[in-house]
Symmetry: C2
Subunit: 288 residues, 2 copies
Amino acid sequence: MDSELEANSSAIDEHFKYVFKSFGRSRVNEAMQYALLGGKKLRGYLVNQSSKLFEIDLPKSIWAACSIEALHAYSLVHDDLPAMDNDDLRRGKPTVHKKWDEATAILTGDALQTLSFQLLSDPRFKVGDDCRLNLVYELSVASGADGMVLGQALDILAETADAPLKLDDIVRMQRMKTGALIEWSACSGAVISGEDPSALLEYSRSVGLAFQIMDDILDIEGDPSKVGKRVNKDQDAGKATFVSLLGMDTAKSHSASLIDRANEALTPYGARAKNLQRLASFVISRNK
Amino acid sequence: MDSELEANSSAIDEHFKYVFKSFGRSRVNEAMQYALLGGKKLRGYLVNQSSKLFEIDLPKSIWAACSIEALHAYSLVHDDLPAMDNDDLRRGKPTVHKKWDEATAILTGDALQTLSFQLLSDPRFKVGDDCRLNLVYELSVASGADGMVLGQALDILAETADAPLKLDDIVRMQRMKTGALIEWSACSGAVISGEDPSALLEYSRSVGLAFQIMDDILDIEGDPSKVGKRVNKDQDAGKATFVSLLGMDTAKSHSASLIDRANEALTPYGARAKNLQRLASFVISRNK
């Protein structure tokens, strides 16, 4: 799995290089490229593999893969800001506001969000206008005030709440904060092809939740040098997590059963869905 | 002119109310609506008037008008942040980070940007997919890392530069910072209709520059109770402005000649362009 993810990651990095060639040079552009480098690029991998199911080839799907990675990178740059999670380290490197300054980090996140919509609407992304417009609409719904941003806002509010969140609240919050983008990514191949995304949606709901449970597990059991960011931060902040609510053993067995459910959802695609199934298993076996 | 702008502003506020009805209630959604209230809504007026030239009626153009106002509001909320311009007052009210906090202001700006792309791609905006996708693309180019964000970054850098900016630098910086969105707004009617926007582009370049010169004039001569934000801030910061470089009299006569040029550019549209011409004259006669 690692070598496939690496190949995917390189393809995405290459495409970003190509895109940035036509941009002017500036501090913000430099910081954008810095923020895009590294990471597992799982969302981009989901886009490319989901597209492959519908025989959409990489030169097309890479535009959507880069779009979701730009959107994800914007969310990380802003989440790391002092007024938000106040993190110094991301993907093993100083965060953007640490390497430059807060103003640069705010503008860099802003421009990364804009870039994600620019990539979907770029005339060089050669799929039908109706499909690209659907991608734009679904991405805006998934990431906006009723999606990812709301999830992040609820997460911040939870830190100062009188009582820790309950399991249902965390499931809901995490589904908006990280789940919505994972769902968009997994469904994108169907959207690009104008096909029914419901099997992929079911797959991605389970994968998204398992991914977040695993993030909570890694926050406790992870090796900081591999995870590339601060660990024990939820525990230190006294925040309720899947692990604190379920216990470590149940958290692990629940995430494993979610992956089984995810893989079953892909049955209609038969052997063609092998890579998506391997990715699901990777999500709960990863160490970073 | 004032009553027409007020009618336009009410129509935009009403449409936002309609849009927010289908959103959940949250602090960020509340702050978004707060940030959208008030202001002259000049960009939205440009969209609606430009659309009228091509017989696109208000129920259609209002989606694009609200889109550009959401984009503009996002830029104001983020520009006002302590790490950026650090302003307490906007449109005569406390800025979002003053009324709530910095985290809320960052997320509110983020979600307003997302909203602007959501509005353009909303299925209820009934114009061709190709035209809406063009609007998305042009808006992302105008507002992103080579457009508005770059203009803002250059403006911040200018504050700590060894030498004040020269006139050419300021023209370039302002064209990106405010001009690009004004150009998008003025051209939007042609883009929605698939027509040639070049006359509108020429008009908006002159109007955009005159608008910015007038902003610098109001920063010195404006009445804070009318302008609704801090005045003398550029002068206090020792920043080069059109007024400091040209002198007050030349700044005024230059902006007047830009408006003449803008109005001439609209000749091909004859009497139908009357409102756009009146708007141009308003830009240099306004007191807020």
